[in-house]
């Protein structure tokens, strides 16, 4: 059973931000059509009815689709724990924040802070994502702690900042400071990462598909080889729909450990010469 809400339009001036915490499969599944229409969407200091913003069709259940450009909507899918929420368009800031389970799919781009503080579930962004992907929520000390975020395109700065567990996979390029302050977990960038990847990381793994070795002196070479654990991630990522280069499967990686200014137990894996990966995405 799929419930589909189609945005009628967006007559509000730029800068007006909406928040619709009730637009989750788990909150709408047991409601009648009228009750869904009467749910509220916050618009700045005002509230409007869901029925005034969205045309509704289908039957409530575990599957909810929101269609339209939802760039002005903050925290879509925040706190979600089950079911599937699909956004046919872009999502605004902090999509999937604090998510605990279920699956959030964004066909377009996601704003900054997508998946911040998540503790479970899967977020799929088919376009690109903004800054601080999977980073801590404001005031928090831990980024993503379990769960997975798959991004087809590029990401902004600080993807995976302070992530504790789980997996973030970026099909394109990552902005500066990817994986900065990582506590653990796995960050995969199929393309290139800008300067500062892994800065101050304590543990965890960053896999970079292309680019030069870490420029930070705090990362030191630590051998190379085929890493058995990577094959399982590779298979899981492909099965989940991530598009990874075929040569990635059995690639040899050069391993760098750091950041040696801290505990230095993190690692950055780069394809070894002769096993250079082709672009991601």
């Amino acid at each position: 059973m799929t419930l589909r809400l189609m945005l009628r339009g967006w007559p509000y001036p730029p800068g007006v931000e909406a928040e619709a915490p009730d637009l989750l499969p788990e909150r709408l599944a047991s409601l009648a059509r009228g009750a869904i229409e009467d749910r509220r969407v916050r618009l700045g200091r005002e509230e409007v009815r869901v029925g005034d913003l969205f045309a509704i069709e289908g039957t409530p259940g575990d599957d909810l689709t929101l269609a339209g450009d939802l760039s002005a909507f903050a925290r879509i899918g925040a706190g979600m724990s089950q079911g599937r929420l699909r956004i046919e368009g872009n999502a605004g800031i902090a999509a999937g924040a604090g998510m605990r389970g279920g699956r959030l799919e964004i066909d377009g781009d996601a704003g900054a802070r997508a998946g911040e503080g998540m503790t479970g579930g899967v977020i799929v962004v088919r376009g690109s994502a903004g800054d601080d992907l999977g980073a801590p929520a404001p005031g928090g000390t831990r980024g993503a702690d379990r769960g997975a975020i798959l991004v087809g395109g590029n990401t902004g700065a600080r993807a995976g900042r302070r992530m504790r567990r789980g997996l973030i996979a970026i099909g394109g390029d990552a902005g500066p400071l990817a994986g900065t302050e990582m506590l653990a977990g796995t960050l995969v960038v199929a393309g290139r990462a800008d300067e500062g990847a892994g800065t101050w990381m304590r543990r965890g793994t960053i896999v970079l598909g292309a680019g030069s070795p870490p420029s930070l002196p705090a990362f030191v070479p630590s051998g190379s080889g085929r890493f058995s654990f990577w094959s399982l991630y590779d298979e899981a990522l492909r099965a989940a729909g991530a598009r990874l280069p075929e040569r990635w499967r059995a690639a040899r990686f050069r391993r760098f450990v750091g950041d040696r200014t801290g505990s230095g137990l993190g690692e950055i894996l780069l394809p070894a010469p002769g096993d250079t990966m082709e672009g991601g995405g």
Binding site: R103, V122, R146, L167, F229, E235, L237, R249
Partner: protein, 309 residues
Amino acid sequence: MRIQGTFIEDTYAEAFSLRAARLVVTADSPAWAQTAALSMTGFATSIIASGCEAGMEGPAPETTPDGRPGVRVILLARSAAELQDQVVRRVGQCVMTAAGASCFDALGATDESIRLGSLLRFFGDGQQTSKRIDPALAAAAAGQVRARRLWRIPVMDGEFVVDDRCGIRKAVAGGNVLILGRSAEVTLAAAERAVAAIRRQPEVVLPFPGGIVRSGSKVGSKYRKLVASTNSPYCPTLRVVVETALPEEVESVLEIVIDGLSVDAVGAAMAAGARAACGPGIVRIGAGNYGGRLGKHLFHLRPLLEGTR
């Protein structure tokens, strides 16, 4: 009933339940995967004195978790605790030590599991790291329902990768076929044919050397401390001193013991083995049982062979 001139006795094999784990051992080459698997399944012939029964499963897996060549092994013991003890010892001493080898759970979703990497990780002396694949991704990849947690233990050729836990399930041990032949040479050749046929079957292992047992046992002994002793009625040299089960022309008996993950798998393997063993020089195909007192699984030879013609 006769197959290629060999008489099929109207009897049954008696098998019993054990707990089983199924692992896949991978390495950089099939030979090294085989070496590690052979080592970890050594001295695991009979639950009576080996601590567990184990063997390599015949058909090599088409795919393995890390994409390298691999060999599946099945290990069986009386309880989950005994199985964990044996699996951890054997993986730790025989797979972690083998060049380039890794070890993964190959049983899939089960209700029960035992610790594996979560105990072996301490060998890493604090430098071990774990990797956890989210259930949502693991499910998409391998039909798993629980998160897959791996341990990466640093070793001198790189790292040993092992699953944190492995699934276990009830299994069947002690399926068997007795091959009664006119000479030792003919009987051994027939047993080798049976082993080759059984090793093409999935979900079963042959825990004895080369898949063949020459020292079949009976329950009990004249010595009170022994729970099992030589199967005197089937020993050709005792023909005139004990009540024998051997026809006049039989000079050699070999047994194939089969453990498997299910009743169906063991039954299919018994049928395949018995059928392959039949031929010139093989007088009879029989099976070992204890009058139905030992095990809950009874495999009647004739219905098995009729059902798999």
